[in-house]
Structure formats: C-alpha cells, structure tokens
Symmetry: C2
Subunit: 196 residues, 2 copies
C-alpha cells in the first residue's frame, strides 16, 4: 500500500479534495466512486478513509471550500473602501480567476451541490443567496453614488455571474484565448457596460 | 381514447413537441417516457405514434427547431444592413425573447442535445459552431468599423451567449424582474460595454 503523495504545502486532505473535484466534475458525483478516487491517487481505499469519512463528506468539503473563498473575498472587497467601481472590478476578477485556476472545484460547487445532504444543502444555498444579495447591494450602492448606470442591479449581477460561469465554454474550447487577455477583455466589456 | 387538443393555428405535432419540451426539461431526456408524454397530453400512447416516430425523433425536432430559429434570425439580421450595433442589438434581444418566451424548447436544445443520435448530433453541433462563428464575425466587423471597442470578439460573444443563457436563473427566481425591464437592462449593460 503506497502513501498519498502531495506537493509541498498541500495537506493530504487537500490533495484528496482536489482529486475528488476532478473526478466529480468528469463523472458526476453520483457515478463517481471512492474506489476510483483511491485508484487515481494510487492508494488503497482504506487509506483514503484515514483522511475523509465518506464521498458525501468530500462533496461538502469542496462546496464549502469554494463558498468560503468567495464569501471571504467579497468581505475583503467590502472592507477595502476602494470605491464601488474598484470593488466590483476586484470581485469580477476574482470570479474569473477562480473559474480559470480552480475550475474543477468551482464546477463541482456550481453543478453538484444539489447532491449535498441536509443540513449542508440548506446551509450552502443560504450562503449563496446571501452572497448574491450582497453583490446586488454593492451594485445598488454604486448606482446611488451615480458611479454605475441606473439599471436594475439584480439584472447586472445576473449578467456578471452568468458571464463568469460561462467560462465553462472557454474551458472546453480548443483554441483558448490567453487567460490574461480573457480577464482584461471580460472586465472591460462587463464593467464598461455598467459604469456611468 | 381522446384526441390531442390543440390551440388554434397549432398543429398536433407542434403541440406534442411543445409538451415534450416541458417534459424533457423537467425530467431530463433519459428519464422521460413516451407513456408520460401521452398521459400529459391526455391521450393513449398509440395515438402519439400517429404523429411522431420515437422519443429520439422528438428530441431532434426540438433541437433543430430551436437551431433553425436562431439561424434564420441571424440571417435576417445579417441581410438587414442596419449597421453593426443595431444588428447585434437585434440578436441579443432575440436571444432574450427566446429564453423568456420559448424557455422549455431552448433549455432542451441547450442541455439535452447531447442525447441526439448521429448524424443529428454532428449536424446540430456544426450548426451551433457556424452560428457562433458568424456572431464572432459580426462583432469583428463592428470592431473594424470602430463601432465596437477593440476587445477580443470571441470574449464578447462568450459574454453575450453566457449572459442570455444565464436567464435560466431568472426563470428559477421567485420575484422575477419584469420581462420588459429585464430585456432593456440586459441590452444596456451588454451593448454599452462593447460600444466605442
């Protein structure tokens, strides 16, 4: 039985979560098995269970890790007092980078959350609703300050979140636009459209 | 055995396709059965087969109906010689209206196309690729004319298509923004962001 090999600064549990994200993304949560996960990590299934209790616990770990990263980034942006435009720009850029650099985990949090068990399911959905409400409030604040155009802030947030989520199609595209150009041009299009 | 009841100007086949779209959207193509479809239309299964050959044929009918509506609308916009901005605006508005007014069919074409059989699958994907290429070319033309900002046209098209597709979340939202306001504000945000 071999040990789980990890990169420097990555705990074994983190390495398992990362590999599970790729597996859940490619096969779907329901079809993926702990046996496959162990195989892809090059270990026996029992050694997996030293680090993680169940497949369900892995899904929770992935979804809440992603949710907490977004929530924490939004909180940082809110307390930075950089002004509405710079704050929203920082948030758009963070979403793009998460979709580009942590695609597997974000994909699982976006698509497979529905397999979470209670009370985790309700907790996750509450976190997501709170996040969206805070984003809407940020856009609303910018509209009041006349930094942003007077367009429905819910519609703006819907456009922003849909556009970054649509990076799924960029991932599947063979001739990918370079990530730096992608980020700059997405920000220019989406931010210019809302700025007064 | 009762007859399939249809609204004025709707053929029986159209009525079946529309009902099948709702069923495929709610249950997924794989889980949906012809028996359920017959039940929801209030007819016996054999009378369904007078109008449609198989479940697979229904999926083809839905996907290609949607693809042809988009292709035909794009063609109309291209030959209208209205200028790049008005042309792209017309296309964004058409996408929004299709998502709002023909949601079930568009949802099935967006999500369940992967269950199409060959040669329909390749044909559908080719139509979609051609459509996207034409959209990119339209945006490129507007950039050359300096009507649109110099941002990667592929990124612009990705943002546009992702945003309209994201209207799925609007559909699921309880307190929906009014459709007129939704359309105007989406167009303002997405079009202003690309116009020079």
């Amino acid at each position: 039985m071999s040990k789980i090999v990890t990169a420097k600064n990555t705990s074994k549990k983190d390495a398992i979560i990362l590999r599970a994200s790729g597996l859940f993304k490619n096969k779907g949560y329901n079809a993926a098995s702990m046996r496959e996960l162990a195989e892809s990590l090059g270990v026996e299934a029992p050694s997996l269970y030293n680090h993680i209790g169940s497949k369900s616990e892995l899904l929770q770990a992935i979804c809440f890790k992603v949710a907490e990263e977004f929530t924490s980034q939004l909180h940082q942006a809110e307390i930075s007092h950089k002004g509405s435009q710079a704050t929203v720009e920082a948030i758009i850029r963070f979403h793009i980078r998460m979709m580009v650099e942590h695609y597997d985990e974000v994909f699982v949090a976006n698509h497979e959350w529905k397999h979470l068990k209670e009370p985790y399911l309700s907790d996750f959905l509450n976190q997501r609703r709170t996040y969206e409400k805070k984003l809407v409030a940020l856009v609303e604040k910018g509209i009041t300050e006349r930094v942003f155009r007077n367009i429905n802030p819910y519609v703006v947030v819907l456009n922003l979140l849909s556009a970054v989520r649509g990076l799924e199609f960029w991932h599947r595209h063979k001739n990918k636009v370079d990530t730096q150009e992608l980020e700059e041009d997405m920000v220019t299009h989406l931010l210019t459209g809302m700025v007064n």
